[in-house]
Amino acid sequence: MLKLETRPQPSKLMSLASPLLALLITVLIGIGLFMLLGRDPLRGLQMFFWEPIRSVNAWSELSLKATPLLFIALGLAVCFRSNVWNIGAEGQFVIGALAAGWVAMQADANSSRWIVAAILAAGVLGGMAWAGITALLRDRFNANEILVSLMLVYVADLLLGYMVYGPLKDPNGYNFPQSITFLAITKIPRLLDGWRANIGVLIALASIAAGWLLMFRTYAGFALQVGGLAPAAARYAGFSSRRALWTALLLSGGMAGLAGALEVAGPLGQLTPYVPAGYGFAAIIVAFVGRLHPVGILFSSILMSMFYIGGELAQSRLGLPKAITGVFQGLLLFTLLACDTLIHYRLRWVHSRVAPSVRA
């Protein structure tokens, strides 16, 4: 029979192999799922794993989904490594988008191209402010940051709703709940003409490098992670837990806000109640599948975007419900958590339970 046995050291190999194994199991379950639904599993898999990457345009579309996921997941990775459980990146994304959208609405014919910088900065500040509420309540009243940040997501959604149904509603919009369409000058510059991919991709790649340096090459990043791994050791070293809390939350809030700004001033081009697309929650999966490592997050954000796009294609071409995206995302996280057992344990085949215990 099979027996789980503690490894003397956590396995480095398994730490990398576990996400791949999880992906494999997800695919296998996916095949079963397609067959159960009476669809050709090969065509189903094609929707998820081939269509999203088959052309330059597909990659361009993929990048639009992957960039916000990547920004948010990078910030969350720092947060989670510091043992600060920010579950409300979705809310910080929304407030970032709202702040950025408001700045974009202030543009007029005289605005310079640099207004894009102001839009992005507003997004960062909005996200930071929203995460700051969580940090303040945690710091001041020891309120649980998981609950506070999560509940603030719904507050942010309602705030956005109020703004687009009220003060920010387009007066010439036939009473639709949406803001004016932003002027072209406020648009995030595109990478190449003809495709929707924008310079957010470049900022994202730079952020990966910056995140890696912060985590593995700076003393501040080290101090943050010690606080997460062993709080008593952090106290012993003299690393402030309050500073870690504020740094982690403001950083992840800012990253989520930046993602919101890129989204609203990029593909969306106006504020609507449909800004929250679940990126903030999906990014939690992205962060963990990417092993809370910047390079890992690059790959996991691409994978996650393939699920998004694949889900939409499965809806339109195979007539499957949109929920299939969520099913795949959930399956991936679930199997990953299961496979992670193998990092700390190994499977061993034991012949029998009784025989070796006593030698006659």
Binding site: T218, F222, A233, R235, A237, G238, V358
Partner: protein, 520 residues
Amino acid sequence: MSQPPSQMPNLPLRLELSGISKQYPAVKANDEVNLKVEAGRIHAVLGENGAGKSTLMKIIYGAVQPDAGLMVWNGRPVQIKSPAQARQLGISMVYQHFSLFDTLTAAENVWLGLDKGLSLSEVTARIRVLAESYGLDIDPLRPVHSLSVGERQRVEIIRALMGKPELLILDEPTSVLTPQAVDKLFITLRQLAAQGCSILYISHKLDEIRALCSQCTVLRGGRVTGEVDPRSQSNAELSRLMIGAEPPRLRQLDPLAQPPLGTTVLELRELSLAKESPFGTSLVDLSLQLRRGEILGIAGVSGNGQQELMAALSGEDPRLAPGQLHLFGADIAGANASKRRRLGLHFVPEERLGRGAVPTLSLAQNTLLTRTENVTSMGWIRIQKVQQLAQDLIARFQVRAGGAAAVARSLSGGNLQKFIVGREIDANPKVLIICQPTWGVDVGAAAQIRAELLKLRDGGCAVLVVSEELDELFEISDRLVVMAQGRLSPALAVADASRALIGEWMSGLWPQEVSQHAEA
């Protein structure tokens, strides 16, 4: 106590183990261990930390299953699958760390641990009988939190005796006791043995074993290295069996050659702190002066406020009022741990894993907890130099580890201790506060650590040592203070102190007028 010498085994065998082996993923904890325990005999199991003593005892008590080997109990081969089964056979064990509920009374705790259904009042009556007949002075109705450590141990022993055991296993029972309490315990144990109960006495303290036991099995690295009568062996012979070599002698200093005591570098003034956890100890009116070029030892049974005092001195407990702690004349009461460290105050905590080191980080990364010379002013880490520092520490303090990249958790307790102590000693501190400096390290490494501490002192460093080992404190300290119930005794020059006196003070009984005298 006239027991026959062990060469004439005329007593029936209570327990016989042959060829017991146990393999853990990384180590072979027991390798073909043989052990014979006679009825009514106090039998010592001697060995260093990690020699396999605890595993062997857990196998006897049924808490761990051996991979191979035979166990014979009172002439019958047995397989003990669980502690409950062991208790049924008549085997009881008192663990090193007590498992009592603080909020319950002694009687309720004993009652909880029983397998069969006695009423609480029956249990209480039985405790009184046992306490009476074995001199285990205890009131069954007192809540455990109000008991001293020695009294708690008596509750554990009474609990073990409830089942009328024929074999009692005691795991390092004296590590938490004052010398006087140890004497009392020995009287009880001898009485038990005289009535036919065999006792397995696990320890690494040679003097105790020679005083108490008439037979001794020595373990080293999971194997039996000797089967002797400890009363006829010298300490040196026993320790040769235990560690394979005689302990190196510490350099004895000529008292005249010692430098005169220097100026006060660290001064604690009238510190009182309420306990933070219900089972902590409140600190009451502590004053302490640590001088340049001295080693000041803090003796005392652990759990009497040492932890709380250390946290206050290191900066981990930020509740000090301004003016309560001075370093080189400057008020550092408000400074956090890293600021105090920058001023030259280094600290080695008692918990190595999780506090002194991050379990899942490498040794190289763990140097960064207290050593910032490899961090640039911009906050960048010089990876190469960090690696180099860890390698140097590993070499200098003979840490057995898989290199600078090995995670702290992969080291044995003693080796991690060497690394952490080495990390702080190597920093050339001006003031070093160190808890249990040689806890869990082998005798050779202990001697090295003590020698390094003396070297630091001779170089002018002020050293504060908290230790449970009185021998260690007498060996290296210049002055001693005793901590009991959250208070500090007056300081004594080590030449004026005796084990008996310090033992008395460890119960909190130091003359009050002396302390007033010292303050005047």
